[in-house]
């Protein structure tokens, strides 16, 4: 299926959408297509918003962000995210802010069909004060107080993986992040893949998502750039560094997006 058609069919304005991938396998091509399709008012969910959400936020696609770490890893700030929070540009961004453990468990609860999950954490921090999706419950056996996070159940989750077979089963390997949980927590799920193969070959440290857990599978080689797909590409650390300057200035950012994303062709930066 064409990525364009899959996203047009499944993602509509106002939906809650998760593009997952923890440093590795971030579905950039799908994010760019959402920008081209002009989606608005999305609630975006991601543990690490990374450059992809910096771009979606800067292009005015999102009104709310559920996240746990909003930096450019190893580089510094996400300037478009900061501009939205600090100055409301191009529009205000409501935040639902977790720790990594909190958001990971919120996905896990969603994948398990549970309304919440319990974990250690949050006690005594200001995170619990500002996030209505965090609460505390008492252990019915020991009386100990633990924290609880509300389940996250995206309307659509989108991931990038290395391979799909002819039945539409998808396999990813290497750092697996929270992708299985994001897919299984969602009402619909879309995977872009580097390669279409006849049969999946079992691999070490892999995650397989059966075809029947996915709504669409799209063949998009290089669809994780500037993130990477182990076995197919390496992380474009230079681009991550260069983004700092591109995103720092609103006009420079808009120009880059017009040239590199809106123009349509997915070219390596």
């Amino acid at each position: 299926m064409e990525l364009r058609d899959a996203l047009a069919e499944h993602v509509r304005d106002g939906m809650t959408v998760a593009l997952e991938g923890f440093t590795h396998l971030i579905p950039f091509a799908a994010g760019h297509e959402l920008i081209r399709q002009g989606r608005r008012d999305l609630t975006l969910v991601r543990m690490t918003p990374d450059l992809i959400y910096d771009q979606l936020i800067g292009m005015g696609c999102a009104s709310k962000l559920i996240f746990s770490y909003g930096g450019n890893p190893g580089v510094g700030s996400l300037h478009r995210f900061r501009d939205a929070v600090e100055n409301g540009w191009p529009q205000p961004l409501e935040l639902v802010e977790h720790s990594h453990a909190g958001l990971a468990n919120a996905y896990t609860a969603g994948a398990s069909g549970l309304p919440f999950a319990v974990l250690r954490g949050y006690a005594g921090t200001d995170l619990a004060t500002h996030n209505g999706q965090v609460a505390f419950v008492d252990c019915p056996f020991t009386g100990e107080r633990v924290s609880a996070v509300r389940a996250v159940t995206p309307d659509v989750s989108i991931i990038h993986a290395q391979q799909a077979d002819r039945h539409g089963n998808v396999q990813l390997w290497g750092l697996a992040g929270v992708q299985k949980e994001a897919v299984l927590a969602a009402k619909a799920a879309i995977a872009t893949v580097e390669e279409a193969v006849d049969e999946l070959e079992p691999r070490p440290q892999s995650v397989v998502l059966p075809a029947w857990t996915l709504s669409a599978v799209c063949h998009v080689p290089g669809g994780a750039h500037p993130s990477y797909a182990a076995g197919y590409s390496t992380r474009d650390n230079d681009f991550y560094s260069a983004w700092d300057e591109i995103a720092r200035d609103r006009d420079r950012f808009l120009e880059w997006m017009r040239e590199r994303v809106l123009a349509g062709a997915e070219v390596p930066a």
């Binding site: 440093t23 746990s68 770490y69 190893g74 600090e86 990594h100 453990a101 750092l175 990477y228 182990a230």
Partner: protein
Amino acid sequence: MSVDQAAAATEVTPEELMTINAARGLRNGQVCLVGVGPPNAAANLARRLQAPDCVLVYESGAIGAQPMRLPLSIGDDDLAATALELVSVPEMFNFWIGGGRIDVGFLGAAQIDSHANLNTTVIGGYAEPKVRLPGAGGAPEIAACARSVLVIVRHSPRTFVERLDFVTSLAQARGQTVVITDLGVLRPAAGGELELVAVHPGVEPDDVQQATGWELRIADQLEHTEPPTQREVDELRDLRASARRPA
């Protein structure tokens, strides 16, 4: 230590000084949860020096990673490729961090208070921040669950503040906390308030007080850290250069 062995303090950057002092604290067999930046450099420096068998764990899911080069992000391919095991992020936080299996957790901060609580969320008010910082990441659970926490942070009155703008991570309840700065080393005294226990070569206690936003407790027996050795500096610089070398 002879003068020959010691690198002159002026030769090293503040970040190098912090990194070398943090690396010294690691021992073989310790399980270290490592983040980006100085912690990453410190843990990998320790592996080249006194602790070749310390176990590196990255919150991205890599357990027992043995990177050849200094990774730039915690999700670099080299970490995954050299790890003993890769686990999902929920498993990492539930079984490995939450389960209390980390001996040493490294943390940084934009603000730290007198009890080693940390802010990595905002400068200013939460609703209308002056500076929006990245946020929590794995820090709150590392602070809560690791057997000891090593905070690496540069010393300045803007960072060492009387009152945090936001409490992202609560000070270590379970074990030891050590704060390593470019001026010295602080540890909680009885009651939990940080106390200056050591200064780096050439640093006076008053320099540290000037860079601290509250009236600083100073240990009766203030120690002086050993200056970085030439080997420490060379290995650290080679490690940093390795990040730019192809695999």
